[in-house]
Symmetry: C2
Subunit: 350 residues, 2 copies
């Protein structure tokens, strides 16, 4: 899922996203709550109509951005009190509020508010966050169901989020508790926050082994292109990552020959395409020399073209994995890091 923080995948038109074949994007609840405001978006017909994006949208719960962007956070069982990074205004984000905001935004998939802690974390802290996450998931689900009973059938799905830091038994316990709440899809949160790839895989595997394979399983915030197939092999159906779009803004480009920094002097006279094996519209038309010039000259077009290519590279990677699954050859894509093939859960639904 390309990341469209403020109802825009940075630098790309919605037409460009459609051309790339993106079927779903992620938008940030925290950002849209603060600006332009969820009530405004509701009034304007919801996020799809507001940004003219007819395909699917997933909204996060806003919790992660509260932790990473806002000042003066104060956690309690009620929720998290914080100050806006924009104007310093004070807000309280509760599980109910996060659900309410996302219902107003009208995304296709909404995430429950969870408590995401840093890893490595002490076991007691991980246990407390797990308990709070389940409590909040229950409250979020209640709010959602009440809203649904008042307003009829909703078009939105609400996903639960499994926590438990890097403790396998806590991950399993969290999954068990959430399964009781019976969500239409489940995310694995609190990973890809600095721990080794092998640990990410191990934790994801613990969870996906327990989750129903006919419901979407979403690993949040991953990953590097070479890791995507690993996650799919572990039973992950959905991923999001700012890496392709953020790296593009810094001139870092993913290619079939590895990551390159387009600002390097070796590209000054390079008339070849960015990636000879890529068929995206950037690689078909523009040279490395031109892309380097645009980046060195601070041209906005550098960001636009780099983003098109990186997202194309990610979406192509997933398309190739999907194709290999159909052919029964997924193992050729795996990096092998930390994967125990014997306990691998059933593969992604084609």
């Amino acid at each position: 899922m390309p990341v469209g923080t403020q109802a825009s995948v940075k630098g790309l038109t919605q037409e460009a996203l459609e051309q790339l074949g993106a079927g779903i994007i992620l938008a940030n609840t925290y950002h849209l709550y603060l600006r332009p405001g969820h009530e405004l978006v509701r009034k304007l017909g919801g996020l799809h109509q507001f940004m003219s994006w007819p395909r699917a949208i997933l909204t996060d719960s806003g919790g992660y951005q509260v932790f990473s962007l806002s000042a003066l956070r104060k956690m309690s069982d009620e929720g998290v009190r914080f100050r806006s990074h924009l104007d310093g205004s004070e807000h309280l984000l509760t599980p109910e509020k996060a659900a309410e905001i996302q219902l107003a935004l009208g995304s296709d998939i909404a995430m429950v508010l969870d408590e995401c802690i840093e890893t490595p974390a002490p076991r007691e802290k991980a246990e407390a966050a797990l308990k709070r996450t389940t409590d909040w998931a229950r409250r979020a689900k209640s709010y959602f169901q009440e809203f649904a009973s008042r307003n009829g059938d909703l078009k939105q799905w609400q996903f639960g989020i499994v926590q438990g830091a890097t403790f396998a038994d806590l991950r399993r316990e969290s999954a068990r508790q959430l399964l009781e709440l019976d969500f239409p899809g489940y995310a694995v949160g609190g990973l890809a926050v600095g721990e080794p790839h092998a640990i990410t895989c191990e934790m994801a595997a613990e969870v996906t082994a327990m989750l129903p394979k006919h419901r979407p399983r979403y690993l949040m915030g991953v990953g590097r292109p070479e890791q995507l197939a690993d996650y799919v092999a572990l039973g992950i159906d959905m991923m999001d990552c700012v890496l392709p779009t953020r790296a593009a803004r810094h001139g870092l480009l993913f290619t079939s020959e590895g990551k390159i920094s387009i600002k390097q002097a070796r590209f000054i006279t390079d008339q070849g395409p960015l990636d000879p094996k890529c068929g995206c519209r950037v690689c078909r038309r523009y040279s490395r020399a031109y892309l380097r010039h645009l980046y060195a000259s601070n041209e906005v077009l550098a960001q636009v073209l780099n983003t098109v290519h990186n997202l194309s590279f990610y979406l192509d990677t997933i398309r190739r994995v999907r194709h290999s699954i159909r052919l029964g050859e997924e193992s050729c894509f795996l990096s092998g890091a930390g994967l125990d093939r014997n306990r691998r859960p059933p593969r992604m639904q084609p």
Copy 2:
């Protein structure tokens, strides 16, 4: 002509420019000489290949940017010595050098180096600049012809530039002198630098009345959308202006109902298109509310979409003028400011 200063019309892909129907763009000699360097562009096959733009390119002489951007300018009959605004390095731009750079860039139309002075100017200063401009045009043409005799038929046209500030007789004298040098096209320079629109029109009319109508006549650096038809009526065939692209970056948008600033609060809930009478892809798909949100949120997409619309508005304006000329109805487009209908030169070639 959309302005693509550094071999990029800011924020737009070349595909987007093609979709807009742009047949020619302007690139800046000063910028491309300093970065990435004209010899590099020559080596990479010229500007068309470098930026993957198969349609026409006009390059200016670099003189205007030397005056407006660089430090420590020192004018002499030889040329203008200046320091780069990028790294402070010292350079000498002569009429020969400006021609050489543009030959290396391989643009379709190159401009001779001229001395552009501020208006209002004392008559003596205007006379001196006129004399120098003609001398420089002669040297530029000599250099160009020698190069052509060494390298065979060139694909480039070199245009002369008429100066003379706001003195009608000096404008005529400058045109006379340049006509003797026999250029395939002529520009009117040193206007639209702050003088009233009526004066711009008056000076342009003095010159176009003398220039052969079967050769392109180019009024440099104009203009506001409502002025374009006036210039066409005066016999002008080509214009360039940073206004549509620069205004777009500041959220200023040209519409059939006048100029609007998209950041205004009145657009917060406005679900209508930017301009109901515009058929551009921005007006067909996005609302004013969304455009306002993008601008208020500092999203790069704001610049992209605003630029698409403004350039579309300019190109549509010219298309409408062209259509009216074919129908013999051009007068309905004129603002009337400063136009003496009796001495209007023959209209633009369809």
